[in-house]
């Protein structure tokens, strides 16, 4: 059985603090005082390099060249980096666990945990006057230059260093601190500089003097939530104010003139000071606790406490969370404590268990919740289990309790316990985990190459596993020395049962490390064409890119590849790639018809597509304005058509087209009429209406126009001219091939009823009554109907007739017809 949780509790006024040992460090003989140290929060790793300002005994084993060591919180060496650059001013960690190293000349290096880095400079100001100090937070940093100017960089994703307002200092500040943008009112970074006896608040635009007299301040620290500022004065006083200097919170005299080596916040309600081997924790009401160590230590502030790294162990100092306190505080009789006690009785078989439950019955649900929460705050698995058991026990007495919280806490604890395991070495607390989110935790695991654990956690929490797998595959490719076949098979085998995994990034990595063949093979597994195609293009896999684009069906992608190829390749090569791909050919044709007829002609020519050549040439001819070039184009087209027996009709049609154009051009000169552009029928029509029947007749015989059509043209033209005599002549010239009804219809359309009557007589007797009705001649209609002996038709005519004299006559016809 584990020691009772309260054994490491210490009371500070009305609240309890605890310092728990989490790991015994794996490192040996470590003297932290000799190092410049940076610890990442959220249980992150520790970076250290020998501090060149401190005197060191030259020992035999020690390497001469400086080295940055990266350790886990459990003191396990992750990586060591040979340091070859200039003097390091400071080090720090980003939220994504990248190590920031700030150099004297304003150069910043960003290392990942395996020593790969990118670097950039803070700009001219920093370079010219060098950096003398630097403050780093999760997403940015502020550097103090040799001429006491401030350079801020607020986003490591987007390197854009900016000079802040000039604080106007002439000497280095006694101390300084930064309030990260997310905690300031303006949402921009603010810097607090201790100078003289006061503090300047500096942002991008101005430096504001807070007009304090308590200084000089030799040390300061901003609380993790950005609200409070802890100040250490030269006369040994610890003073806590709000960061806007409006509220005075507490004061505490330490009796030490020497400023502490470290001044950090423990959560948001107490401050921890560290002098050589002595740790002093000061609570909000001036109470304090002192811890002594045998060796140098290092403090890493966390959102809910302080991690204490010493030469032999890693400890966590925090305020005892409320839930834990309620349950374990000696002699406490609040419901959660009673519930926890009830379980104990139950396990012993004591009836007091039942009694306990009865007492707290009305608030049992809250008690269960508290037990669950307290379980989350425990590092010790024995107590985690005990608390969860108590919660489960209490839960059983509740009729409707939503067990989601219980289940999710069990899951969370499993995850937390597995990452806290000393081999992994991430001593993250429940509160930190909630703030960090599982996603980021997974990222951190991946970055430390704990792929298997990350995968298991993802699967367990039902999160997406792709990025773990993709990262794993990428690392595999970077590290592996096997041949591409082996790597490819290894990766594909592992990822085979994960449908919908994107291979593009893996392929890209392969390409970047100089394995283009492997990249191509991997890309084949990428389901998303939109990701596949651009990469293939950048890998110069032109034809493959085109094939994949076509497979995707996304024509935009096909065009993207095709236009890229057209720019890049000689025309012949371009056509060669396109030719055997129907879809690409079709799209090229569509594109060219809109944009580039010349290219299309070349395309058809190289493939010897004569008929298409002809078609395109004809299209070109339509665009020509002058007759000469129009006809020339058509002649070219004619040749193409003539080469193909299948297109004899088209050849003939084009031939006629040319003839027509020539005839029209001649006629235009003779008759002074615009004709080009008209169809053959229309041309004849124009000839007739301009009294040139001879020309019309010639066209008829030249183009072998059928009689029927010619009569129609003539009929329409003559009616249009209202040349009734000519029309009459036409009608009488021979038996009309189109009958005489069209004559009647056209006359009616021209509202010439008298003329129409003439032709009605020539029509078939059966249609005559109807035609007479159309011109309103009911009498004649009646007579014709009588001749047909159609009584029904007669009465129909009668009903339409409104002239009563004719109506009477019609009545007599009806009588006549019916009498017979």
């Amino acid at each position: 059985m584990a020691p009772h949780p309260t054994t490491d509790w210490i009371q500070l006024q009305d609240r309890f603090y605890r310092k728990q040992e989490i790991y015994t460090m794996s490192w040996k003989h470590m003297d932290l005082s000799k190092y410049l140290i940076a610890g990442a929060s959220y249980g992150g790793p520790i970076a250290m390099i020998r501090d060149d300002k401190k005197v060191l005994l030259l020992q035999k084993q020690q390497p001469v060249k400086p080295t940055i060591y990266l350790y886990t919180s459990a003191g396990k060496l992750i990586e060591q980096l040979q340091w070859d650059k200039g003097r390091i001013i400071t080090m720090g960690w980003t939220d994504s666990e990248q190590l920031i190293v700030v150099l004297e000349d304003g150069v910043i290096r960003l290392y990942d945990i395996h020593g790969e880095y990118t670097q950039f400079s803070l700009g001219k100001e920093a370079k010219d006057h060098s950096v003398i100090d630097c403050q780093i937070w999760g997403t940015g940093l502020v550097a103090l230059t040799g001429n006491f100017k401030l350079v801020a960089l607020t986003n490591f994703e987007e390197i854009r260093p900016r000079l802040m307002a000039d604080p106007g200092l002439n000497e280095p500040p006694h101390s300084w601190a930064v309030i990260p943008p997310q905690y300031t009112l303006s949402r921009h970074v603010e810097v607090l500089l201790a100078t003289g006896s006061t503090i300047l608040t500096v942002d991008a635009k101005e430096a504001q003097d807070q007009l304090l007299q308590q200084g000089p301040f030799t040390k300061m620290a901003v609380s993790p939530n950005g609200i409070f500022l802890a100040l250490f004065t030269s006369d040994g006083k610890l003073w806590v104010v709000s960061t806007d200097f409006q509220k005075n919170l507490s004061e505490f005299a330490t009796k030490s003139q020497v400023p502490p080596q470290q001044l950090v916040w423990c959560g948001t309600d107490s401050v921890v000071l560290y002098w050589d081997k002595i740790v002093l924790m000061v609570g909000p009401f001036g109470d304090w606790i002192k811890y002594s160590y045998d060796d140098s230590i290092y403090l890493i502030p966390e959102v809910d406490g302080v991690r204490v790294i010493s030469s032999d162990k890693c400890e966590f100092l925090q305020k005892v969370p409320n839930a834990t306190e309620e349950i374990f505080k000696i002699g406490n009789t609040v419901p959660p404590a009673i519930l926890f006690d009830a379980l104990d009785h139950f396990e012993k078989g004591s009836p007091k268990a039942d009694e306990n439950i009865r007492i707290i019955r009305p608030v049992l649900a809250d008690a269960v919740d508290t037990c669950i929460e307290a379980a989350g705050h425990e590092f010790n698995q024995y107590w985690q289990r005990a608390l969860l058991k108590a919660a489960a026990f209490g839960k059983a007495f509740l009729e409707s309790y939503n067990a989601d919280r219980f289940v999710s806490m069990c899951q969370t604890l499993r995850v937390l316990n597995s990452v806290r395991y000393y081999e992994i070495g991430i001593p993250i607390t429940y509160a930190q985990y909630s703030k960090l989110t599982p996603d980021v935790l997974i990222d951190r695991l991946i970055n430390r190459h704990h792929h298997l654990l990350a995968l298991r956690v993802c699967e367990y929490l039902k999160m997406r596993t792709d990025r773990v797998l993709i990262h794993w595959a990428c690392e595999k490719i970077k590290k592996s020395t096997d041949d591409e076949e082996t790597i490819c098979r290894m990766i594909v085998d592992k990822l085979a049962n994960k449908p919908g995994l994107s291979y593009a990034e893996i392929a890209k990595t392969a390409y970047n490390v100089g394995q283009p063949k492997l990249a191509t093979r991997l890309l084949d597994y990428e389901p998303r064409a939109a990701d596949q195609v651009p990469l293939l293009m950048s890998m110069q896999e032109d034809e493959l890119a085109l094939i994949k684009a076509i497979e995707s069906g996304d024509t935009d992608l096909v065009y993207l590849v095709m236009l890229h190829l057209k720019r890049k390749l000689p025309l012949g090569e371009f056509f060669r790639i396109i030719n055997n791909k129907l879809m690409a050919c079709n799209l090229l044709e569509v594109y060219c018809k809109e944009q580039d007829l010349k290219l299309l002609t070349d395309f058809y020519y190289q493939d010897d597509k004569r008929v298409e050549m002809a078609n395109i040439t004809i299209l070109e001819s339509y665009e020509k304005k002058d007759l000469e070039s129009k006809i020339n184009k058509l002649k070219v087209a004619l040749k193409w058509y003539q080469d193909d027996k299948e297109h004899a009709f088209e050849a003939k049609a084009i031939d006629e087209n040319i003839k027509l154009l020539q005839a029209q051009s001649q006629l235009e000169k003779d008759l002074n009429l615009p004709l080009i552009g008209l169809s053959l029928s229309e041309t004849i029509h124009k000839c007739i209406t301009s009294n040139n029947s001879g020309k019309a007749n010639k066209l008829k015989s030249d183009f072998k126009i059928p009689d029927k059509r010619f009569w129609w043209i003539k009929l329409k033209a003559l009616v249009e001219m209202r040349d009734w005599d000519e029309l009459d002549k036409l009608a009488k010239s021979k038996k009309s091939p189109i009958g005489y009804e069209p004559f009647v219809e056209e006359c009616i359309k021209a509202v010439q009823h008298r003329e129409a009557t003439k032709y009605i007589q020539k029509c078939n007797p059966t249609v005559r009554p109807g035609l007479f009705i159309k011109i309103g001649d009911f009498k004649s209609a009646g007579l014709e109907a009588l001749a047909l002996k159609d009584i029904q038709l007669l009465s129909e005519i009668r009903s339409k007739c409104n002239n009563h004299i004719i109506a009477q006559e019609l009545d007599s016809y009806i009588a006549k017809a019916s009498s017979r």
Binding site: K462, R464, P499, R528, D554, L619, G677, L678, R709
Partner: protein, 503 residues
């Protein structure tokens, strides 16, 4: 940030979605440009993410197959973006049926005879709006609110050969959708019965107006006033539709319209197929708009498996000489599409198809239709008959036979036939679906290359049968008709002539 916005489907009605891609027919079948298939697949994929996987995807036609394949591919791609939501099989939609326009080109070439169809033929509907002369739809409503017309005159005042007297006449846009109660009632009816319905409605509205004389007490008057707003909007809608109907009537009584309708009906019925040529020749001589001629010639070619060489060349020559040599390209396009070709064998599959799918129904009661053939007064759209193959119950009362039993007729139609079942990745079909024997009721129909208003009406008619057991949702790339179909593939000419244009 500039991103791509996927417009996807635009809903026109509860049962009608359109991608509004106007030229899909030309792009797909003439140019071989499959962009619209990609858009269609993406839009259908969106529906799948909203409503679950279509349990079954059936279809006919090569492009339709292409679309179905692309849907499967996209399903894999979507899994990359969000694998946690591996799509479940839809509980509402039982299948997706994809009909490729190239399978049935006959239907759009026929003149639509429903009210909405004829509006589209005569005025052409764009995005469910029609633009007509403001004189047609009558004066503004406030003018004569109470003096309701007592009857609808059906005599015609204008003929299409004489253009309206004022060419400058103001155009008015009218929304055609089910928001207009009267239109909702009329739209799917055969035009032959529209007149009598309008008459009946006019009488009722008049009676309602007369109701004001019975209003004696203040309460009664208030009640009448409350009704008045509704009456007035009804009245306006009646005026609009009476005007439109009259205008359409003006077209339907012309000999040109009736001649061409007669030719169409003879062709699809296979009656006197060869004697229709004279009529078509006369139409060319009369210089009716080319698109009308081409509709008939294409129909002729489609139902006969092509034209005899002599006739084929004769018509081509007549067209070129009458409408201009530029239309050589138009004719080549039609040939490429297999719509207007030379007969190569005397075997004519259409005759068999007509018989086995019962495309011609002799007795049509326009007033009280029993079959979808009412939309063309005797011809049942082939495309919808194909749908019926899939959705009507088999002998055993279960309807998931797919194409079973119709393999022979499908073989005669162009393009691939397919029937695929979609499952969840882990291929575990949830037993949940079988609870209470509840079956999904919605069938999604997708027309690739466009559908006509008559086809929509016919499908709505099907939905009403079967006691409303089945709902159909129609999705299409665009709504089309013979004119828009052919116009898209006709050679555009800058022809100064008077006859080359369309209506």
């Amino acid at each position: 940030m500039i991103g791509e916005y996927h417009l996807d489907f635009i809903p026109f009605e509860d049962d009608l979605l359109s991608l509004e891609l106007d030229y899909t027919f030309k792009e797909l079948y003439l140019d071989g440009d499959y962009t619209s298939i990609y858009y269609a697949a993406r839009a259908l994929m969106k529906l799948q993410t909203l409503f679950g996987l279509f349990p079954r995807v059936l279809g006919k036609g090569d492009c339709a197959k292409h679309l179905a394949d692309m849907l499967l591919r996209m399903r894999r791609e979507v899994a990359v973006d969000d694998p946690s939501s591996t799509l479940v099989v839809s509980q509402n939609i039982d299948s997706l049926i994809i009909i490729d326009r190239s399978v049935d080109l006959i239907t759009p070439l026929c003149t639509q005879l429903t009210y909405e169809g004829l509006i589209d033929e005569v005025f052409s509907i764009r995005a469910s709006h029609v633009e007509v002369d403001s004189s047609i739809v009558g004066p503004a409503p406030q003018k004569s609110a109470v003096g309701a017309p007592t009857s609808t005159s059906t005599t015609t005042t204008t003929t299409p050969s004489q253009p309206p007297p004022q060419p400058q006449a103001k155009k008015k846009k009218i929304a055609l959708n089910s928001g207009d109660k009267l239109f909702a009632q009329l739209r799917d009816m055969n035009f032959a019965v529209v007149g009598s319905v309008l008459n009946r409605v006019a009488k009722r509205i008049n009676d309602d107006y007369e109701g004001r004389h019975q209003a004696k007490t203040v309460a009664q008057i208030r009640e009448f006033i409350n009704k008045l707003g509704g009456l007035q909007s009804e009245h306006q809608s009646l005026r609009t539709h009476t005007g439109i109907a009259e205008e359409i009537m003006g077209v339907t009584v012309t000999p040109e319209f009736n001649k061409s309708l007669e030719v169409q009906q003879n062709l699809v019925a296979g009656v006197d197929v060869n004697t229709q040529n004279d009529c078509i020749e006369e139409m060319i001589n009369r210089q009716v708009p080319l698109v009308q001629v081409l509709r008939l010639l294409s129909l002729q070619s489609l139902v006969n498996g092509g034209l005899k060489q002599k006739n084929f060349e004769f018509f081509k020559k007549e067209i070129l000489q009458t409408y201009g040599f530029e239309h050589l390209q138009t004719l080549l396009n039609l040939e490429k599409l297999n719509m207007f070709v030379k007969q190569v064998s005397t075997r004519n599959p259409y005759a068999n198809i007509r018989k086995s799918l019962r495309l011609i129904v002799d007795e049509v009661e326009e007033n009280n239709p029993h079959d979808i053939s009412y939309v063309y007064s005797g011809y049942a759209p082939l495309s919808v008959r194909l749908l019926q193959c899939v959705v009507t119950k088999g002998d055993n009362g279960i309807r998931n036979n797919g194409w079973k039993g119709y393999e022979d007729v499908l073989r005669m139609l162009p393009g691939k036939t397919f029937d695929e079942v979609q499952r969840k990745e882990d291929s575990v079909i949830r037993p949940k679906r079988l609870i209470q024997g509840q079956q999904p009721r919605v069938t999604l129909i997708f027309f690739l290359g466009g559908c006509t208003y008559t086809e929509i009406s016919a499908i709505r008619f099907l939905a009403q049968q079967d006691d409303g057991q089945r709902e159909f949702v129609i999705a299409t790339t665009q709504i089309t008709n013979g004119n828009s179909l052919l116009n898209s593939i006709m050679q555009k000419t800058e022809h100064p002539g008077v006859t080359a244009g369309t209506l």
